[in-house]
Symmetry: C2
Subunit: 213 residues, 2 copies
């Protein structure tokens, strides 16, 4: 889905270089987590990875592309997870409160791993004109469309014009989990977050009277 668009300067042929590349990515994640995007330098990454700065630039054209690589991995994970869940629901034909809960749960799981990296990526990187934002918006659009169809098929589910409800739901999911990632300290308890968010979405989606679980 997210092909490596001119991301890798030279394609690694031998096992040795493939290890170098993954060492760089792993180091990048660590440094990013520790110092944020602005505080991360290519030399830092090379140092931490135990490779020379020259090697780094042999496989990545610039600093941004390294972070983009991490981002793509995260998005691919998100896309496949969402796709699986969505397909399941589509097979049944309509969406239920339990499904909603599963979606919230998935969103939480996806952001739980490497929160520091995620924080650095979504928070620190200047968004304007950046490539990954476009990819992100595209992924969101696809999800909204699928959810919209599902909502239309589901009896007693909210009906809006132009798919507004679907857009709202996806946005709430994304915004709240992103926010949850931001403040690592003092954050809403995980269980509480799952509970309250699911309930809020269910009340929004389904007609009153339907029991939420």
């Amino acid at each position: 889905m997210f092909e490596n668009a001119s991301k890798v300067r030279k394609k690694p042929m031998q096992a040795r270089s493939r290890e170098t590349v993954s060492a760089i990515l792993e180091a990048a994640a660590q440094v990013l987590e520790a110092r944020g995007y602005a505080g991360t330098t290519t030399n830092h990454i090379a140092d931490r990875a135990g490779v020379s700065i020259g090697s780094l630039y042999q496989y990545f054209p610039n600093k941004e592309s390294i972070v983009l690589s991490l981002m793509e991995a995260h998005m691919a994970e998100a896309a496949s997870g969402t796709d699986a869940l969505m397909s399941l629901v589509e097979a049944r034909g309509c969406i239920t409160p339990d499904d909603v809960r599963e979606f919230v749960h998935l969103a939480m799981e996806l952001h739980k791993r490497e929160p520091g990296v995620h924080r650095a990526i979504v928070q620190d990187i200047p968004i304007t004109g950046k490539i990954w934002w476009e990819a992100f918006m595209n992924m969101e659009r696809i999800m909204v469309d699928r959810l919209r169809i599902l909502l239309d098929k589901t009896p007693h589910a909210r009906k809006t014009k132009g798919g507004a409800a679907a857009r709202m739901i996806i946005r709430v999911l994304e915004s709240l989990t992103h926010r949850q990632v931001m403040d690592s300290a003092d954050r809403l308890d995980q269980e509480e977050f799952l509970e309250e968010t699911s309930d809020m979405l269910c009340r929004y989606i389904f007609d009153a009277g339907m029991d939420k679980s």
Copy 2:
């Protein structure tokens, strides 16, 4: 509320210098809007303001403090607006669906002015260890506490332990409006956003059966 904590290096005494300071702030807003935080340099700001770089550093100790100034202004505005609305509701003693709508409306209004500046501030500036994030969290805490008391007083309003509902509501408001600011293009129509968000919050807050308007 947000006193200028060591922000201004030398306090401007004459009208001339006060104009210089405001020219700098205005220029900073423009440059920030056009180029983002990372792309903004102190020399850019001085140029745009029509003052020398030396003058800039006479009144601001560093680049960050300039942006912090803008942020404080925004937060002071937000604090006073919210306070006014909150006081109104507190005087009545309980919260209504109309109030909820007013809160959403306020949040939208606060982010409508200078969206580019806001975008640069919340998106581009590395959060880790930054001063304004603490002030922001503090403001949020105050709002949550007041809302929590209001919810407790309101019949048929959601009751949670530990103020979870109040926390959720404030978070949804903030997260969604921030997100709304992020994608200037392709954004939910303003009216639609107000409508759907208010409705979502009302359904979450109030027992089923109460009409939303």
